[in-house]
């Protein structure tokens, strides 16, 4: 019931008079959706065609092969996936908590901490961790979590803060408990903003995870670093292009998820 009330308030996707034809807008949407994966596939094909056409020397072949590239990709994805899941698990409940009337006073403290986490250069974070907690996959994940906490935390808080007070009052007026208001009114309305924050965190993590090579956690940074120290552009290009493609692919998937998870009627 509450959602229907909110639906009419929040709806803004009424088709305009002109393209009232449902088929055309659906086609345009599909085309728009497919543009990124097609572009990325084209870039990958171009990269592999380039690599195939070049006469790779021994050193290049040691990095540019299915095993190494595959392993780097998998390590990278593991780092990004795990760190983003942990960030969401920490930041979303924390963000919710910090918008409740009691803990709200602590909000500036946690925001400042998250800010510091992102302001400290990621390499610096990795080094600090290496000195105190050693090197390895977990330390890389910790650095990624600290680094990408801010967007998710802040967006969760902003999303919840921007919910129209009258809607919350309406919900309370209809007899919903505070918790019910949270889960049935506030969160659905805040989800678009929250998802935007998670999307940002994902992309930040794909980029920052290239530094994981410095802490023995592998990832696409392995190819980039090898290319730099050995002065082999092919290896460097492979690592960089794949990292960029991965970031864009992750962004596209997150956009898809955003579309699917966006509550209907908003």
């Amino acid at each position: 019931m509450a959602t229907t009330v909110l639906a009419s308030r929040g709806s803004r996707e009424q088709p305009s008079g002109r393209d009232n034809v449902p088929g055309r807008s659906a086609l345009r949407t599909t085309a728009g959706l497919l543009f990124t994966p097609i572009l990325l596939s084209a870039v990958c094909l171009a990269l592999f065609a380039y690599l195939g056409s070049r006469d790779l020397d021994d050193i290049e072949r040691r990095s540019i092969n299915a095993e190494v590239i595959g392993r780097s990709l998998v390590e990278h994805l593991r780092l990004v996936a795990l760190s983003t899941v942990i960030v969401v698990v920490i930041a979303v409940p924390l963000g919710i908590l910090l918008t409740r009337p009691g803990p709200r006073r602590l909000a500036p403290v946690f925001l400042a901490l998250a800010n510091i986490g992102q302001a400290v250069p990621s390499v610096g974070l990795l080094v600090l961790l290496a000195v105190t907690a050693g090197i390895g996959f977990s330390q890389a994940v910790v650095a990624l979590v600290v680094y990408s906490l801010l967007p998710v935390l802040r967006n969760t808080m902003i999303g919840l803060q921007r919910v129209d007070r009258t809607l919350i009052d309406a919900g309370r007026g209809m007899g919903l408990t505070r918790t019910a208001v949270l889960f049935r009114v506030e969160l659905p309305l805040a989800i678009p903003v929250m998802l935007a924050g998670i999307r940002v965190a994902l992309i930040i993590n794909v980029g920052t995870a290239t530094l994981a090579v410095f802490t023995n956690a592998g990832g696409l940074g392995t190819l980039i670093e090898t290319g730099i120290v050995l002065n082999r552009i092919t290896i460097l290009l492979t690592g960089s292009i794949l990292a960029a493609v991965l970031a864009l692919a992750v962004d596209w998937l997150a956009g898809l998820a955003e579309r699917l998870l966006r509550p209907r009627g908003l």
Binding site: D57, D58, I59, R62, S63, R71, A130, G134, I135, G136, V213, F214, N216, G218, T222, E225, T226, I228, V229, L230, N231
Partner: protein, 321 residues
């Protein structure tokens, strides 16, 4: 009457001027020593660069002080991050000189994949090709060999029973977990690194038993056995003695030679023929024992690189006190 804010501003400007003046005093002329008998570079000016690790910084300061003692004006650009950066600085004219290793140039810049085992032959091949292809002149090399090696903590070597790389190869094949090895990404990809080593000694270490770290971090990692007990090392590093590590003997003589030599653009070498003469005397004095001691002074005893360089040059009488 000057207001307090104006006075403050004047004070700050004065301080800045004094500070910059004192900085430039640090690269002014040096009292001459025995090197001035080799040649004079009065009126010449050079920009000396180096890579970022201790040995390179020491060489940078040694060169800068030596050239200043024979009358040259030197701008220092020591500590450029990476072989690539230093080399590009040289070819683009950002610096006039830096010390490069024969093995490194052969593999990385001249893009060969198999090194030459004889030191003199390797040097000649590199010098000839770099001159012909890139118009870079290789001055006289120093006799020390900054070669790759495998380092183990001395006690661990005893308890594991490894003294040579053949022993290590046997251990890797029978019990790879006990022979966990730290490597840098460069070492993993070069023909004169891990792949060649594996081929020469007939072993293959599983990826899971290697850890990829920054070269500089490996010494400490091996010393604390976290995450590895064996590590790639440079033979002249001061931390080998300082952290109680020993180098495994390369019984099959696999590793090539890395003699350092100053590299200058052809134009610089032709304009200042005395440069080669000064370097000739200097390079000959840089043997393995000397460079190891200098590295130790900096990495273990914590001395400043330029102080250590100056002390050594004064001790040898190359420059005046």
């Amino acid at each position: 009457m000057a207001s307090s804010s104006t006075r403050r501003r004047v004070t700050m400007i004065l301080a800045a001027v004094l500070l910059s003046a004192s900085c430039s005093l640090g690269t002014g002329p040096i009292a001459p020593g025995s090197l001035s008998a080799a040649g004079s570079l009065a009126g010449a000016s050079f920009t000396v660069g180096s890579k970022e690790f201790t040995e390179q910084e020491i060489l940078c300061h040694i060169t800068s002080l030596a050239l200043r003692s024979v009358g040259a004006t030197v701008t220092e650009k020591c500590g450029l991050a990476g072989s690539n950066t230093a080399r590009t600085a040289l070819t683009s004219g950002g610096i006039d000189l830096y010390w490069e290793y024969t093995g490194t140039a052969w593999i990385s810049f001249l893009q060969h994949t198999r090194p030459i085992t004889d030191p003199a032959e390797q040097y000649k091949a590199v010098a000839q090709e770099d001159l012909a292809k890139n118009h870079l002149v290789w001055l006289d090399p120093a006799p020390f060999n900054s070669t790759y090696a495998l380092a183990v903590k001395s006690d661990t070597a005893r308890s594991l029973g490894v003294r040579t790389i053949s022993d290590y190869a046997r251990l890797v094949t029978t019990n790879p977990a006990a022979a966990s090895t730290c490597v840098a990404s460069e070492f993993v990809s070069r023909d004169d690194g891990l792949p060649g080593l594996e081929k020469a000694y007939g072993f293959e270490i599983p990826h899971a038993n290697t850890a990829t770290l920054n070269e500089e971090a490996i010494y400490h990692a091996v010393a604390t056995a976290n995450p590895c007990v064996v590590g790639e090392a440079i033979a002249t590093d001061g931390r080998i003695e300082g952290l109680g590590l020993t180098l495994l003997e390369d019984d099959k003589h696999f590793f090539p030679v890395y003699n350092p030599a100053p590299v200058v653009p052809q134009s610089v070498s032709q304009a200042h023929p005395q440069l080669a003469k000064v370097i000739h005397v200097l390079a000959a004095a840089l043997d393995t024992k000397t460079i190891r001691e200098l590295n130790e002074k900096v990495d273990i005893e914590g001395q400043d690189e330029s102080m250590a360089a100056q002390a050594w040059l004064e001790d040898k009488g190359f420059i005046g006190k």
